[in-house]
């Protein structure tokens, strides 16, 4: 399973896990600092933003796990988080331009077919199937049949070359 994971998803999962852990540690250190409480009381620091970043860091960990293992919900979560981040960065232009570009790249990457396939998202291509039950085609098969096999003259499925009849469609073979 892990062998099929796209490299970009692996990188995103690792970055998200590291970011989540560092974010939690950083937020706890800040929140336990007595000077921060004084600064918050003086309204010099927005303590709500620190709690918000702590929440995002906590949320990042299960999403990272979902990315690593290819859980479908994590794809939607990743898109939602990147979308929210992009909107936030858009509101902070021109300062948030770098973050906006990164979010756009992540969203574009998550929408790629091989990435959607990893997350088993509907609409993506299915996993490669062996051509034992290949779709019927009116044209000649583009590839030669495997050794000791032939394609049924009617349904074009691969069958043993010794078969007199096709076991799938019942057509008599020449």
């Amino acid at each position: 399973m892990s062998e099929n994971r796209p490299l970009g998803v692996t990188i995103l999962a690792i970055l998200m896990a590291i970011g989540g852990i560092l974010g939690i540690i950083g937020a706890i250190q800040i929140l336990t600092n007595p000077w921060i409480r004084i600064a918050a009381a003086l309204r010099a620091v927005n303590i709500g933003l620190i709690y918000f970043s702590l929440l995002l860091s906590i949320v990042a960990l299960p999403i990272a796990y979902g990315f690593w293992t290819g859980l479908t919900w994590s794809w939607y979560a990743g898109l939602a988080v990147s979308g929210l981040s992009a909107i936030t960065n858009l509101l902070q232009l021109p300062g948030g331009i770098l973050g906006l570009i990164i979010d756009a790249v992540v969203i574009y990457y998550l929408l790629q077919p091989n990435v959607k396939e990893w997350f088993k998202v509907m609409g993506g291509p299915t996993l490669p199937e062996i051509s034992l039950q290949a779709k019927p085609s009116t044209s000649e098969p583009s590839s030669t049949p495997p050794p000791g096999m032939k394609f049924c003259v009617t349904c074009r499925r691969a069958i043993p070359s010794s078969n007199v009849y096709c076991p799938y469609c019942g057509a008599k073979q020449p």
């Binding site: 399973m1 892990s2 000791g148 691969a158």
Partner: protein, 119 residues
Amino acid sequence: MSQVSFPVVTKNINYMLMRLEKNLRSMPGLQVIRQGNSAVEVTASALGGLLKSKATVTLNLSGNYYFVSITSTPSPLGGNEALNYANVAVQRAFSTKQCNNCKKFIFLDDKYCMFCGQK
């Protein structure tokens, strides 16, 4: 190691392995690799590849029977998903029935007899 046997429907071992591979590939999260001309290796992963179990299905044609042996390596925590999947796939791929008309063995999921064309 476990071993089961099935009556020969076709002596084409490549077709037999293709049937097995197709069944295994229809199961989610498995890695399926052909090993030489008579075996298929299946790997099941959990926790992002940290817990892997492996099973190797080997076919041996002898007389009028295929002898199917399955060897497995459990995951570090003792789970053996690969073996479970391999057992199910072997049964689905190689189980046989007899044609009502010519009485020859055909695969359980075949709609038509490959020998006489009987539905």
